[in-house]
């Protein structure tokens, strides 16, 4: 990992320190000041109907200044780094902090000084991927669709970020990160078929955009003129993206349900027993499943600390062989109720996988073992209708096929579903090999899942 981004458009650690010194001199009234910086250089190319519609390059900066005084705490976000702009921001945040009701309590470290894991999150090739390179790559993604008489739309974006968290008590975290997002939708000219593929990672060399474009095209060609089948309960083979979409209400932000304080004190969410505490120790998923997070995960690297307070993420086994082992908690709760010294923040990265010694199956094998069922590409607009059991509704999108006697027999029209990830992951038939899915700003690695009795409630014949 480089210590510097070596990009003129992205702030260096010296730039960050200089900004912090300047801000500190402008503050009044003691207390602590935390400066969080995200300096980003971003290049993106968007295309639709087989032609590039927009190429852009931006340099953005977000400074979040948090003041913690004996009166209270408050934060402000600004994009101004000039003296007058910083002074205005400091005045504004100090006025805001004076209004807060709960004073900042000393004793808790305001920003952690703990050592952090150092996953590799930087790729020089990605950081220096030029707009010319982007154009050439995008044209190569469009070409197969055009040759096949289909319409391609998509977006390819690379970013190079410097993340910094600095406070007055000596904490200084600087982490350069690159990202790449690529997603492709291919439709036919009459609008009766649509296919999609996408992924994100920290480095271009970790993804295969051409394979994504090919998959979107394949899905489009295989889904022309879908026919309606009856809603009802089906065995489903959820491709990894569909599994990730379904997991959003459970581990996605801002609706992360893996919160120990919510479960044990507020008695809300799927992992609460009301006034009897949380469900830690109980079986909540199929006993072949493991859900864990590790900042050093080779395919799931993510910023190794909470950006707002510098607290490091730790490897955590959330669910082990179906048993709920941990829920996330903040430092205050750790010290107040759990008698622990460290927080366990819920991260941006999760890996859902089969337990060791459990035989995984490919999607093809799952199809071959299905008598009658549906193959699902992904879900759209998944929203929770009952936070108590994570019952969700949403619709299928960009490719749904009927499976009969172990073979895909025809594309079918989309459905609205009503299911909970907790129910689906308790009716597991087979588990695939986990892969990185499209979840921008997060790193999720999930497998395809074959599950029975998935509830599709009504037809949704949009394409």
């Amino acid at each position: 990992m480089p210590l510097e981004t070596n990009l003129p458009g992205v702030l260096s650690d010296a730039d960050g320190k200089a900004l912090f010194t300047k801000i500190r001199q402008m503050t009044t009234g003691g207390g602590d000041t935390v400066l969080t910086i995200r300096s980003r250089q971003s290049g993106s190319t968007t295309w639709a109907r087989n032609r590039i519609t927009l190429a852009s390059e931006t340099r953005t900066i977000n400074l979040t200044i948090e003041r913690k005084t004996l009166r209270g705490r408050a934060s402000i976000t600004t994009t101004q780094t000039d003296d007058a702009g910083l002074r205005t921001a400091v005045q504004q945040v100090e006025e805001a902090a004076s209004i807060d009701q709960v004073p900042f309590v000393r004793g808790l470290p305001s920003v952690s000084n703990q050592e952090i894991a150092h996953p590799t999150l930087w790729s020089d090739a990605t950081a220096h991927f030029s707009s010319g390179d982007r154009t050439a790559l995008v044209n190569s993604l469009i070409a197969p669709s055009m040759a096949a008489g289909m319409l391609s739309a998509g977006k390819l974006q690379t970013t190079a970020d410097a993340h910094m968290t600095i406070n007055a008590e000596g904490t200084f975290r600087y982490y350069p990160v690159t990202t790449v997002d690529c997603s492709v939708t291919t439709r036919n000219a009459t609008g009766t078929a649509s296919g999609w593929a996408g992924t994100n990672h920290y480095a271009l060399e970790k993804i295969d955009p051409k394979a994504l474009a090919a998959r979107a095209l394949d899905k489009c060609q295989a889904s022309v003129d879908p026919r309606a089948v009856e809603p009802g309960h089906y065995t489903v083979i959820l491709e990894p993206q569909a599994v990730a979409d379904l997991l959003t209400p459970m581990i996605g932000l801002p609706t992360n349900s893996m919160d120990r304080y919510a479960a044990e004190v507020m008695s809300v969410g799927p992992f609460s027993h009301g006034s009897d505490g949380s469900r830690i120790g109980e079986r909540i998923l199929d006993d072949r499943l493991i859900l864990h997070s590790d900042p050093m995960d080779v395919d799931g690297g993510f910023l190794p600390y909470v950006e707002s307070d510098g607290i490091p993420y730790r490897p955590a086994s959330w669910v082990d062989r179906g048993i709920l082992k941990e829920l996330g908690y903040h430092l205050g709760y750790a010290q107040w109720k759990l008698h622990r010294k460290e927080a366990l923040p819920c991260p941006e990265s999760y890996r859902l996988m089969a337990a060791p010694n459990v035989q995984t199956r490919s999607v093809e094998e799952m199809i071959a073992s299905t008598d009658r069922g549906l193959l699902v590409t992904r879900f759209y607009d998944v929203r929770c209708i009952d936070g108590g059991n994570l019952l969700c509704t949403g619709v299928t999108r960009d490719g749904l096929w009927l499976i009969q006697q172990g073979k895909i027999t025809r594309p079918v029209k989309n459905f609205r579903f009503r299911e909970s990830p907790l129910y689906v992951l308790n009716r597991v038939v087979n588990i695939g090999v986990p892969v990185r899915v499209f979840s921008p700003d997060r790193a999720w690695i999930v497998p395809a899942i074959q599950s029975h009795d998935f509830s599709f409630t009504s037809l949704s014949d949009a394409v």
Binding site: I52, R59, S75, T79, V184, G191, P231, R416, T457, D461
Partner: protein
């Protein structure tokens, strides 16, 4: 319990507020971004445009924008059910308020058109003239590289050259002292307390926004405008007695975002409507499960607005309908805009929908859009026939064959919007107006004329990525029997298919029932919300499928 008096004695800001005049809003605060006012803005913008043109741009425009946002939050209740930033102390608090969350965003963005492809370059912070010139060159270079080898020529609908300055009428919310804003939050709690009904939880936020935009184009336009978006969310959970376990939930629908200043909140009848808010909340406790089936459904104005917004409002976005955003938000069930324009029956003849960004108080209202177009009023649906789409200077030209067939000129409907200065201009939702019916029918009249049906108040709608199939749910759904509103129904959801829904509109409320609501929408992975208004009236729709949220129908 912390009282208002306690607040006044402990908060420094409130101490300042106590010195303020009680009436009138004449006081002002110093301008936040003082640096901007001293900048040679015309020189900065010219540098960007000139460099883009010198680098080969056939057209270029530049935005310099200052956006300020402030969100204030208070919670009142027995348990900290909604507190977003919890501490162990919260458990003992009845009234909890939070430091306002503030943001200031300043930046500049340049757009250049070269060989039919757009290039964009954006920079956060205050740019110097030299930096602006670099941005102009970068935008043109991005476009030139991306457009190399592309043969398609991109045309822009004509735009008159405009210049001027405009400030949205109203009191700048950022000129109002912070103490007065917190007094407003407390007034909301006081209003609930005065009802003497027990509202056990109340969660309130004020959302204030101010945008100062300067726009210049290579056509010669140069405009500066200031807009405000002001709104609040006031939600309560009510129980009839202190041991009640089933809560009635209600959100006030008269504080939704609007294109107005601080006066928008001050003129709302908080005290008059608090009683209604709590009673509505209590009424929604006593529920019976819905019987699945087909019903005639009477939607109140808020529910109709939500339906309109997620169906016709979404489907008439031309970039969606043409497949230009297929990879993100989706497409439209109006799949062939050119052929359908002026021909397609998309709703009952009772339905006429107009779009504009010039209505007074609209959350999407501007004097000029982000391409310098003074937004006209466009009739999207005329007596049930598809008449127009939401367009920008670029997208309007895609409809040229249809406009020609209909003997209409190709002009933008003013829907260009840049989310921020470092975000390229895209097409966004204008304010939508469902025209009232000619008969003076009220919500009650629509109920009275329904033999067996259900009535939905304050419904929330969602639809798929073509705006085609959707559902509506609400905490306020009632049975109608022989023209009389009956019991509150639980877990009911209306399932609809947009074309059938709008063609089955049997009756529509008159002008006296018209109300305006603000909606906030995200597209793709945007960080900020964008608001627009929908003016609506109650409607009655026949033979809709009604299911149960928890069971397959």
């Amino acid at each position: 319990m912390l009282s208002r008096r306690h607040f006044l004695h402990t908060s420094a800001a409130a101490a300042a507020a106590s010195l303020l005049p009680r009436k009138g809003f004449a006081y002002s605060a110093p301008h936040l971004i003082s640096t901007i006012e001293t900048l040679p803005i015309p020189a900065i913008l010219s540098a960007a445009i000139n460099e883009a043109k010198a680098a080969g741009a056939q057209y270029s425009d530049v935005h310099l924008r200052v956006s300020q946002r402030e969100d204030l939050t208070a919670f009142w209740g027995r348990t900290p059910g909604y507190a977003p930033f919890r501490t162990p102390m919260d458990e003992y608090l009845w009234f909890r308020y939070y430091a306002p969350a503030r943001s200031i965003r300043v930046g500049i963005g340049v757009r250049a058109l070269v060989r039919g492809t757009w290039g964009f370059a954006g920079l956060d912070g205050i740019a110097s003239t030299d930096q602006a010139a670099v941005l102009g060159r970068s935008a043109a270079a991005e476009a030139a590289r991306a457009g190399a080898g592309q043969s398609q020529v991109l045309e822009l609908a004509p735009a008159p050259v405009v210049s001027g300055t405009w400030v949205m009428p109203g009191i700048d919310p950022f000129s109002v002292p912070i103490g007065e804003k917190f007094e407003y939050l407390m007034a909301m709690q006081e209003a609930l307390r005065e009802t003497r009904l027990e509202a056990i939880r109340s969660y309130t936020t004020l959302n204030l926004c101010k945008d100062e935009r300067t726009f210049a184009s290579s056509d010669g336009s140069f405009v500066t405008q200031t807009t405000f978006t002001t709104g609040a969310r006031w939600e309560i959970d009510a129980v009839s007695d202190s041991t009640g376990t089933q809560e009635g939930h209600r959100v006030a629908d008269y504080l939704t975002p609007a294109g107005a200043g601080w006066e928008y909140l001050c003129t709302q009848p908080l005290h008059d409507r608090a009683q209604q808010l709590v009673e509505d909340g209590l009424r929604s406790q006593h529920v019976t499960p819905v019987n699945i089936g087909r019903y005639d459904v009477v939607f109140d104005a808020a529910s109709t607005a939500a339906l309109l917004d997620c169906t016709l409002g979404t489907a008439t976005e031309l970039d969606r309908a043409m497949g230009m955003v297929a990879n993100t938000v989706g497409t439209s069930y109006l799949t062939d805009p050119v052929a359908m324009l002026g021909m397609q029956q998309v709703a009952s003849p009772l339905i006429t929908v107009t779009a504009n960004r010039s209505m007074f108080g609209g959350a999407a209202t501007v004097r000029w859009d982000d391409e310098g177009i003074a937004p006209p009023e466009a009739t999207l649906i005329k007596n049930g026939i598809l008449n127009d789409f939401q367009t920008t200077r670029e997208s309007a030209t895609w409809l040229a064959p249809a406009y020609q067939r209909l003997n209409r000129s190709v002009t933008s409907n003013g829907c260009a919007h840049a989310l921020g200065s470092t975000t390229p201009v895209t097409q966004r939702r204008p304010n939508l107006v469902l025209q009232p019916g000619t008969q003076a029918l009220s919500f009650e009249d629509l109920v009275k004329n329904t033999k067996r049906g259900i009535a939905i108040i304050g419904g929330e709608a969602t639809a798929d990525y073509q705006a085609l199939n959707g559902t509506m749910t609400s905490r306020q759904i009632f049975s109608i029997t022989n023209g009389v509103i009956g019991t509150s129904l639980s877990n009911a959801e209306v399932l609809f298919r947009a074309p059938e829904l709008w063609r089955s509109v049997e009756a529509i409320g008159g002008a006296a029932t018209a109300r305006t609501f603000g909606f906030e929408r995200w597209r793709d992975r945007e960080e900020d919300r964008v608001a627009h208004s929908v003016a609506s009236v109650p409607i009655k729709v026949t033979n809709l499928a009604v299911g149960n949220v928890y069971y397959a129908s």
